[in-house]
Amino acid sequence: MTCLLQVKDLNVSVGDKQILKGVNLCIKPGEVHVVMGPNGAGKSTLANAIMAHPKYEVKGGSIEYKGEDISELSADERARKGIFLSFQTPIEVPGITVEEFLRSTKAQVSDEKLSVLKFRKSLKPILEELKLDESYLDRYLNVGFSGGEKKKTEILQMKVLDPDFVMLDEADSGLDVDAVRIVSEGVSKFLTEQKSCLIITHHSEILSSITPDFVHVIIDGKIVKEGDASLGQRIQKDGFEWIRQELGLKEPVAEEE
């Protein structure tokens, strides 16, 4: 089977600073991949580069999606092809309600035309599943939301847009146990044989309800170790230090992602 998403020798810089130093990745339809790594290793950079964040400059390598080189496409074009990124820190957008926003985005990614009422009705089961009150639809996007509400709203957007390939950047960070469970369940229900997923996390709460097919460890901008779900469990237990020792990597200076 060919890759749904293929990243080849990806080099990414932010300003003058090189973050990713030759990353290779192949995600096939239906696969769940997890990228783990210490803070500052380049995990979020990978996701943002795949989504075409203008701040993350691709200096070398390529990104292919469904067999097409998408390296030159803008974020909205990539989104319309079915790529989705759940943000680590969702942005507050004052003045735009969640419902308005969902409706405009849905109109961009699909040809389906839904009346206002039908659209609102279609949101109800998703809201219930995520334990979000219907009143959230009338609130401004992420404005004044708690960490958990923001992450749930990301999952809500994901379900409405129905992408083929989703990236979850720290979807479970900063959440209480219940919220982690709701978000994880929401994601795992969404993932079917056709959907592929790249989960970015520096710990692995989310992995208790989603079993990955592959686990990649990024340290200092490179994928240094790959394995199956058991690698994730080992990291959950022992952290990253043993990998550094095993590979003879030195302790990096703390960097901002």
């Binding site: 803008s74 942005i91 957008v93 735009i96």
Partner: protein, 508 residues
Amino acid sequence: MISRNNTATTLSTEELQAKLEQRKAARKAFRAERARLREKRKAERTEVVEMRRGVYDNKNKFEYSLKLENGLSEEIVREISESKGEPEWMLNKRLEALEIFNKTPNPTWGPDLSAVDMNQISTYIRPKAQLESDWNSVPDNIRDTFNQLGIPEAELEMLSGVGAQYDSEVVYHNLKQRFKDMGVVYTDFDTAVREYPEIVQKYYGKCINPAMHRYAALHYAVWSGGSFVYVPKDVYVDIPLQSYFRLNAPGAGQFEHTLIILEEGADAHFIEGCSAPKYNTLNLHAGAVELFVSKNAHLRYSTIENWSRNMYNLNTKRAMVDEDGKIEWVSGSFGSAVSMLYPSSILRGEGASSEFTGITFAGQDQYLDTGAQVMHYAPNTYSSINSKSISKSNGIAIYRGLVDVGVNAHGSKSTVSCESLMLDNESRSDTIPTIRIQNDDVDLGHEAKIGRIDETAIFYLMSRGIPEEEAKAMIVRGFAEPIAKELPMEYAVEMNNLITLELKGAIG
């Protein structure tokens, strides 16, 4: 109770035709000269890049029954007064104001006004149409313009009195019968001067003094058209009173006078909308809005102004608020080359309050110097100012505000919030809030936020499939939403359309 004399006392068509004949030859020569001058100026001046503003830029064929010489002299002022058949006292007010105008220089602060040349501005233009009470008898070309601006829809939707100003005269006026029955007067200001002289004389010029500044003086010398609203005691006007102003003549200034009086316990909402087509000659707008809010009365005054890019908008708006009265300003300033607009509220009765919500959009080559002023001159008064500005290209958006708390205004409270959004690195924004406090017992809050449009927010929206320009537009519309939601639906839609048009200018 006010009674209304229904017989029209404007000059008859025959009289106007006679005047027209007399002036025909002179006007022809004058026009040729002006055209020559315009060409000359055009050649000398760097062309201002105009954006497409859709229906707002449509201009109708120039066709007027009377147009005075450009420039300003005592003769012109007398002529204006005479053609309106004004009483002596009004002529005297005009002449006094002219004297003040001639002595008063341009302000030394704010935008440069040296390009405002009175010799280029004709101060009085009367449309061919006489005052109409029936929509069907309004001339076709004028009706077309209003059609494009959505006036008939408003009418169809049973919105109340629509007084629309076409250049300097009100051509269309309609007031619902039940308002008449309530004793509410809503008419053009020229008619008010003739038909309600006692009221007009009592209030006219008492809120805004010609000596306030040069363009207030100019206004009082040459005013023409405008609206007059009188709401008797305890009358609640439950449908907004609307007026659509529109400038349509090259080189013409607009000096409409608005006078609104709410008696004790009355309640009304007045909506003023302005848009103008573009022209390359200098244009000046110097209107005056005088609002009187009596004890326990409540007035909301909403404006969406959308001037062509060569307009100097030097408007003066002021409200006097009595005991426990309340004025609410909702203000959207778009277009113009230069705007200086600071609606002010004088809280002169105990417990009086003022709320100001305003938005300003400064695009390329625009200098919008706007804000609000509140004078707390009585105890336990309250005010809030919520101002937002957007600037793009090399546009300049300045918030200039004043909160003045007098010696006897103890127990008063004021909050000011200014937010500026700059869409690129070329635009400029600044806040100049002045606060004067003359007693210890006041509660004052001030908050200012200036920022550029957030790249990450744009990316966030784009990552959901929204193209970049639409993402920016969404963020800007969201920024303006607190203002939009204060407006009636049709005006909110218009404002959002304006924002989208303004943003599109950035691409083209």
